[in-house]
Amino acid sequence: MAVYTPAGVAARRAHGRHIQLSGPWVTAREAFWIAVETLRTHKLRSFLTLLGVVIATTTLIVVMAVVNGMNTYIAEHIANLGANTFVLHQFQWAQSFDEFIKAQRRNKPIRLEDYDFLRDYLRGYQAISALAQIQPGPEARYKGTTIDEVDLMGLTPSHMDIGREKVAEGRYLSDQDNNHNAPVCFIGRDIVDKFFPGTDPLGKEIIVGGRGFRVIGVAERVGTTFGISQDNFVFIPMGTFRAYFMPRPELLVFIKAPDSKHLPELEDEVRALMRARRHVPYHEADTFGINASDTLMSVWKELTGPIFAVTIGVVAVFMVVGGIVIMNIMLASVTERTHEIGIRKSLGARRRDILWQFVIESAVMAAAGGLVGVFLAYAVTWAVAAVFTAKVPLSAVFIGLFLSAAVGLFFGIYPASKAARLDPIEALRTEN
């Protein structure tokens, strides 16, 4: 028989003094497993309890994912619309509604004369092109197949040096085509996939907007933007466009600077020339818009501030609501487990041991809610990414988990301190 002698006590006690240091850690582990056990045995109740934290974490991560996705998108797509390119258009893009209404009255469309003028008088640009478009896009047909709507655009051949569309087969539109109003077209991948699966599109005639065009070239795939395909286009020469569809189209004029250093200069020059040409008095606003890709960037950056502000508000509300629910459940749990607390105290649990137990239980529970929120956020982000753009940054996962654990910790303090302050003998006498 093993011997338990008081003589052994003294030796063990001396030993016990430095062991004491690891005490909080040991109780923390005990508390952690109690929390996990509670979660396992009350799955549904725990989930409902944690709904607030789940929603808050999901919201936070999804918003961060969308913002992150937008950032990536803008960096990759709009920015590569031409790093050093800007667009002269009747309107300034992405401006406030009020300003847009004002501009609607004041601004005049950009015409071919404007384009010719700039081409001849502007100095220091690398390329300049004009683009006209029919909205909504017309129908396209080839033999028995129909595409309800294609992006039909009239382009000056110089757009080859500016646009994203690179030649994959055949050739781009030429000055020759433009000068002779040739019925030719340069088409995108989607058109090829629909009309010419497995066959060579070059030289074939397709019908767009009721007119026939011979395919002279096919572009490489561009990809999607906001989930919308960018390969559903039919480019025709500007001359042909005017002859067939619109004698006086409203234009977008693309201007490319040789490098980023000369971009602001070039913008100023265009502005000065256009103002002079339109006789805009010096104290009045432009009657046209100059849109650079970084204009869009800055608009987006200004937008992210309010988006985050709203998100923080929403997340905070859900977290607080979630925290209060957790606090109430923990208070109920303390009452329910008074006898257990009594037992633990009778065995030497100090106040801080009991405090830790319940605070950690609360934090682990909330963190578990955060974890569910993370999974949910991945699911939602996956769905969003299918139609828009979103990508969960790892930092969002950490912030979400950390925040939910912190909420559990904070709202666990009050119930835990109630538990810690229980009188040992009273608690032990409570039967449940």
Partner: protein, 245 residues
């Protein structure tokens, strides 16, 4: 102010001699029940030396459990003084009391007081958890204690998978796992039939033989007969104190 200065030497003079593990002096416990005050203890004084085996006897309601809870530092007296191992308990802080419950006292309750959701092994580990014993040593000692109470083959059973006698043996294992100075048992056989009760008493006898101090509450004479000394309580007062054997 002056009284405080004076009180220290007085306490010193009442300090129990070496070898005395428990000394109570005029302990009172009064429950204030609004209109009436219930005096559960009315001036209890006695000493218990290291290695003694004491039975506290008395009729129901005489204050035995109240006294045990005071000795076990679970409760505090309304007045009076109590020394445990030479330390005046009423001067101790909450944490120090917890430490004493953990290290000095092994409590065995009539109703077992095991954690229902934990295994026998984990129940026995609990006191070691609260003094920060490292996991390996903790497991080793908890298993050893369970073997002492002959439950080596029931370590992973939960209380509801054990018989009453087995549960009480888990409780005894838990009480002795920390090598306490005293084992306090409040009617440890109260919820058991006489055969299983005898098992538990055997266990306590063995623990006493190996040097443990044991204080036992009972109102059965044949249980009290295991002890070497009987303290009788009636209406909150000690009415007899006799050594036997």
């Amino acid at each position: 102010m002056g009284s405080q200065v004076a009180s220290s030497p007085v306490q010193e003079s009442h300090r129990p001699a070496d070898g005395v593990i428990i000394r109570t002096e005029d302990l009172w416990k009064t429950y204030d029940m609004g209109e009436v005050a219930v005096h559960a203890l009315c001036g209890v004084s006695f000493e218990i030396a290291r290695g003694e085996y004491v039975a506290i006897m008395g009729p129901s309601g005489s204050g035995k459990s109240t006294l045990m809870n005071l000795i076990g530092c679970l409760d505090t007296p309304t007045s009076g003084r109590y020394w445990l191992n030479g330390r005046l308990v009423s001067e101790l802080t909450d944490d120090e009391l917890a430490h004493i419950r953990n290290k000095e006292i092994g409590f065995v309750f009539q109703t077992f007081n095991l954690l229902a959701r934990a295994t026998a092994l984990h129940n026995v580990e609990l006191p070691l958890i609260y003094n920060g014993t490292p996991a390996e040593e903790r497991l080793e000692r908890a298993k050893e204690a369970l073997r002492v109470v002959e439950l080596g083959d029931r370590m992973y059973h939960k209380p509801n998978e054990l018989s009453g006698g087995q549960r009480q043996r888990v409780a005894v294992a838990r009480a002795l796992v920390n090598n306490p100075s005293i084992i306090l048992a409040d009617e440890p056989t109260g919820n058991l039939d006489s055969a299983t009760g005898a098992e538990i008493m055997n266990l306590l006898d063995r623990l006493h033989q190996s040097g443990n101090t044991i204080v036992l509450v009972t109102h059965e004479f044949d249980i009290a007969a295991h002890a070497f000394r009987v303290i009788g309580i009636r209406d909150g007062k000690v009415d007899r104190d006799e050594r036997m054997k």
